[in-house]
Symmetry: C2
Subunit: 255 residues, 2 copies
């Protein structure tokens, strides 16, 4: 079962780790381990095999050291995951995008989707409070800059970003579920449905859930699975941007 949190009681320790406040002593120069090497190894494992495969023993093994050596650099697993998350944010592109705010926001949404596709474990790890590392700050700053001049209040800008990123995360999660259900059961999404459908029909007395049956099969088969999540992402994104346009237009009119 998920856990995380627990520790983190000491803000100084956690934040110092995220911000890498630790000038390398002459002593630690020639050591085998470092926070960076540990984080890199951990991300590789999580990318390749998912968050469940990420154990402290596994990380240590990948680095060729004893399990407990990892704890020399990282207070615990929760903190390791936090640094992994901030590191992943650091990899994101932050291009200067020509065009209007809508173009920029759409680009941001797609970049975030790509992030979650590259690191699906983030979808299950980001549960607690935001990490407050340097790369998250940079990301937040960059994303705000895309809409800073459209006439919204600061609070509204934050809410807009929250909305867009929330949608991306939801859609990414749906897509990721399809993928790793496939990995775990060895069946495609379509095959999974086919194996469950006959049983479902057995239970559902005819005529119960009429709308659900019609829409469910339509939604299921029209975009024959695997393309489903992408459709949901695109549809939702355009709806969300349309909705934001309304406030933006309001503000522009009142100016």
């Amino acid at each position: 079962m998920a856990s995380e949190r627990k520790t983190s009681a000491d803000p100084a320790r956690s934040l110092a780790l995220l911000w890498r406040t630790r000038e390398p002593t002459s002593r630690s120069a020639g050591t085998a381990l470092s926070v960076d090497r540990i984080v890199r190894a951990a991300i590789d494992i999580a990318d390749a095999e998912g968050l469940d495969a990420l154990t402290m023993r596994r990380v240590a093994e990948a680095l060729g050291v004893g399990t407990m050596s990892v704890y020399t650099y990282v207070p615990g697993k929760a903190e390791l995951v936090a640094v992994m998350i901030d590191t992943a944010y650091g990899e994101m592109p932050r291009p200067v995008v020509e065009g209007d705010w809508r173009t920029r926001l759409e680009r941001i949404a797609r970049d975030n989707l790509a992030l979650y596709q590259r690191h699906p474990w983030m979808l299950r790890a980001e549960t607690t409070r935001p990490v407050l590392g340097p790369h998250l700050m940079a990301k937040y700053d960059y994303e705000l800059s895309a809409i800073v001049d459209v006439g919204l209040t600061d609070v509204e800008m934050d809410a807009v970003l929250t909305l867009v990123l929330g949608h991306v995360k939801s859609a990414a999660r749906a897509a990721s579920e399809v993928v790793d259900l496939e990995r775990e059961t060895g069946m495609t999404d379509g095959q999974w449905w086919q194996s469950h459908a006959p049983w479902l029909e057995t239970f559902m007395t005819a005529g119960a859930y009429p709308i659900a049956s019609r829409v469910g099969t339509a939604a299921g088969q029209q975009h024959g699975a695997a393309y489903g999540p992408e459709y949901a992402f695109e549809f939702g994104l355009h709806r969300v941007l349309d909705g934001i346009s309304v406030v933006v237009a309001e503000r522009a009119a009142n100016r």
Copy 2:
């Protein structure tokens, strides 16, 4: 760490459990345990102490039986959680709402938010494929009926619901994080920020992240924490509904 899934290889067993296909034999009449009693106990534990506190030993203890007795009625923990989820869906109200589709969708969003507030563990448990139990079907059917006559295609109706419910879940998750961070650290959201802020300022060299700093403090202090998540929910919901209005109007015009 989170796990779930694993088992579930056998659709028949899982679905039969969800749909309670199991006529009570004369033998099982006077038994102490039942799927319902187990599920009820499990939901009580998860409601009161969170998903981390939900262990098979704990459930058995609450029922006054041996740990392994639970496995007589439930194949494993993943399946238990699935039944818990479907049961929770069953508690939701499904009133006939007067008014237009927007009124009904808004009501649905609030009902779903209330569900997540009553059962915060669902936010962390619903990760895998939807449960396909009778109550989820009923919920899906009911929610579709709210927008069945606005002129959208079946696929679009599904996407609209996905969008709205996704937003609700994101907002509920944000709100839930505030609550259980408070429970775990014993500090309010404001206190947490105050304890981290001085450290953050130490690390952030002045002038870095200018927009993030301004907007972050504005967003943080204007609606002085604890009210933040509610604002994000309301703001996002109105934006989403506005966005949906646009497609609905398009379809109405083209008819």
